[in-house]
């Protein structure tokens, strides 16, 4: 069992609180993503696990052992940095063999290990070449090989896909997932890209300004975000968020967003009574806003097309309803033009509600 457990980790740099009371557990052989915007504290967290930075408070466990006082070299943790420090004057083989030579392993064993790792990562053609001739993706793989050759129990990757071209990133992302399965290793990687996080990670810890906002599987984070931050961070195009208030209209409870409203009667029990007096945020995923040519029922409302973006297989249409702009996801069969009048049908049962002040979810979409 080689899981990683962080208990109440805090870290300050000068006056700035980089990490605040971070607690999370990564199980044995899990592929865990730490996701958050730039500056959220992701790299610091990885460095604390690796032992390159000491936390001000809290404990780091690797397996069953508390490793706070164990030096990085003895933690059996490999870390691949965002910009991998590869020696330009050494061949791929020499670069990968380097950590083994430091350990004074004999030449035959080194050769065997390097070739084994080289084959797994499909970089045998790079072993005799020098780094200057590598592409971005190849350089990443050589850096990864140099860490894997030590057979670490836990592998940490800091933004492993960041510096790659969009197209290469897509295939490398899959490779990363395959590799982790093949090596059967506990792997933790950081990313600022939510698509990468959910596509690759078994579970994802969403981190914002040093605080873990939510930990969960991809589907859970998407359909049940616990805060506005997670709701906004996970999902592309981003969830629409607009200010609203809960009001009683005759028999019905509605979320009033001034220019339109959402019927909450059937879900009123979800919203705590105190929400009545609070300012709320209404969250609508782009795929839950349907555009129609004519008002199908009395709940439909009118809107104007502001912008359309062609995604190839689908289209994102930005519409304005009074002062509110909403992004909607539609099929590519329908073409919309700038300024066109459309009608909007909301999947009201899928609406999310958050407290405006605290950002905490008060009602989640029903699926």
């Amino acid at each position: 069992m080689v899981g990683v457990r962080l208990a109440n980790i805090s870290k300050k740099a000068g006056k700035r609180q980089i990490l605040k009371n971070v607690t999370l557990e990564v199980t044995d052989k899990e592929l865990f993503a730490i996701a958050g915007p730039p500056g959220a504290g992701k790299t610091t967290l990885l460095k604390i696990i690796a032992g390159l930075i000491a936390p001000d408070e809290g404990q780091v466990y690797i397996g069953d052992q508390m490793v706070n006082t164990v030096p990085p070299g003895d933690r059996d943790v490999g870390m691949v940095f965002e910009v991998p420090p590869i020696y330009p004057n050494r061949t791929g083989f020499q670069n990968i063999a380097f950590p083994l030579e430091i350990k004074k392993m004999n030449n035959d064993q080194v050769k065997e290990r390097v070739e084994e790792v080289g084959e797994l990562l499909q970089i045998t053609h790079l072993l005799e070449r020098k780094p200057a001739t590598y592409s971005g993706g190849e350089l990443q793989r050589v850096a990864l090989a140099r860490v894997l050759v030590r057979k670490p129990r836990v592998l940490l990757l800091d933004e492993p896909l960041k510096n790659l071209d969009a197209k290469i990133r897509e295939t490398t992302r899959v490779e990363l997932k395959r590799l982790q399965r093949e090596f059967g290793i506990t792997m933790i990687f950081s990313t600022h890209d939510e698509v990468e996080a959910t596509a690759v990670g078994d579970r994802i810890g969403v981190i914002n300004e040093g605080v873990v906002e939510q930990i969960g599987g991809p589907q859970e984070l998407y359909s049940s975000p616990r805060s506005v931050f997670v709701a906004r961070f996970i999902g592309s195009p981003t969830m629409n968020l607009t200010e609203c208030a809960l009001k009683q209209m005759g028999e019905k409870w509605v979320l009033d967003a001034s220019d339109f409203n959402v019927d909450m009667t059937r879900r009123a029990h979800q919203i705590e009574s105190e929400a009545m007096s609070q300012e709320l945020l209404l969250g609508l995923r782009p795929e839950d806003i349907v555009l129609v040519d004519s008002p199908a029922n009395s709940r439909c409302f009118e809107a104007q097309v502001e912008l359309t973006q062609n995604f190839g297989d689908e289209r994102v249409v930005t519409i304005s309803v009074g002062k509110v702009s909403l992004n909607c996801l539609t099929g590519k069969e329908r073409v919309f033009t700038y300024g066109q009048k459309v009608y909007v049908k909301l999947k009201e049962e899928k609406a999310y509600v958050f407290h405006r002040g605290t950002g905490i979810a008060v009602a989640r979409s029903t699926n």
Partner: protein
């Protein structure tokens, strides 16, 4: 009259031919995107249009005037760089006014001009803020404002969104799209990101090895790629490409690849006329591959799930049909996991067939 005409452009760096024979036009109010992988010649083409590189041969016409011998600053072209290059110590007003001051415009006229531009790009409320205090999206606006205040005939944007993190990029892309509509200046936009090109451009020129492989509207490029490269480069995740051959059995035409077989009798005429038994590549986009838990269709093929990539409401499924690896993109199915046995069908109306040797599209 087109705002920009580029004819037979060629550029050699030593013996390396960065741009081989590039030609295109950009109409009034149109946004054309030069799209391709790094090293395809897109940035060199842009730099030649701007006058920052001298072409080995070929012509550049701006608003009908040949500008080959006109220096960059006199070409009436606005150039917005990757890093925006905002002066940190100057206010938004002075950043926008900079080009006008260089041109010694009288103060009163300059003020009107800067204010008009600022309100067009939505920065009229932050005119006194120094450059160093601007957020990304404001910097983008100011950088564009600084170019359009000079009334350029053409705007050139060089990978303006490439240094920005994913979430902010989504927002800035939409903002840039709206801004373009409001400004309405003919624009050439360079990027390696196909999604950026799809969402921002009216037309896309896909470049490879110094040549334009295909030029067309975003829908044309996506739905009817003329070459294997274009089919593969546009779309995320990439189109499935399956090496296969056309065989006939019991009056049915079949695309065969090992154990995999797809009945294409409906297209047999076209295929036969254009292919003549050559090696073929079948292309099918992941969203045109559907997966079902039960066998719903006569032609459904059995497959096994190798990997699942959940992406919001959708998932990408890595499937194995026999020994063939295929990607499918569809609604997330929580019950599906690695090892699940499913049934898959290809949307026959969305198939692409390419000739393996020439890489050109047949169907």
């Amino acid at each position: 009259m087109p705002k920009l005409v580029v004819k037979n452009l060629r550029k050699l760096f030593g013996t390396f031919e960065a741009v081989k024979d590039v030609g295109f036009q950009v109409e009034e109010k149109e946004t054309l995107c030069l799209l391709g992988p790094s090293g395809c010649g897109k940035t060199t083409t842009l730099r030649i249009i701007a006058g920052l590189e001298v072409p080995t041969s070929g012509q550049v016409f701006v608003d009908g005037v040949l500008v080959n011998d006109v220096p960059p600053q006199k070409r009436q072209i606005g150039l917005v760089f990757q890093d925006y290059a905002i002066f940190p110590h100057l206010s938004v007003f002075e950043n926008i006014a900079y080009g006008l001051r260089v041109r010694k415009m009288p103060e009163a006229q300059l003020r009107t001009k800067v204010h008009d531009t600022a309100s067009l790009i939505g920065v009229d409320n932050i005119l006194d803020v120094p450059g160093r205090k601007l957020g990304l999206s404001e910097m983008q606006r100011v950088a564009i404002g600084r170019s359009i205040v000079l009334d350029p005939k053409l705007l050139l944007l060089d990978e303006p969104l490439s240094n920005i993190d994913a979430k902010a990029r989504e927002r800035m892309r939409a903002e840039l799209g709206k801004l373009q509509k409001e400004i309405g200046i003919a624009t050439v936009y360079v990027t390696h990101d196909q999604l950026e090109a799809m969402t921002l451009a009216d037309r896309i020129a896909v470049m490879r090895n110094g040549l334009i492989e295909q030029i067309g509207t975003t829908s044309e490029i996506y739905d009817n790629p003329r070459t294997l490269f274009v089919g593969n480069f546009i779309g995320s995740p990439s189109m499935n490409l399956i090496d296969c051959e056309l065989v006939y059995s019991e009056e049915r035409a079949i695309l065969k690849s090992g154990d995999f077989a797809l009945d294409v009798t409906e297209f047999a005429e076209t295929l036969r006329a254009k292919s003549k038994g050559r090696e073929l590549v079948l292309g099918v986009r992941p969203e045109d591959v559907s997966v079902h838990v039960r066998k719903t269709d006569e032609e459904a093929m059995e497959c096994e799930v190798q990997l699942v990539e959940p992406i919001g409401a959708r998932s990408i499924y890595h499937l194995k049909i026999g020994r063939l690896a295929v990607l499918a993109k569809g609604y997330a199915m929580p019950e599906v996991d690695v090892g699940s046995k499913l049934w898959t069908t290809f949307n026959k109306h969305k198939l692409h067939v390419f000739d393996k040797k020439t890489e050109e599209a047949i169907v």
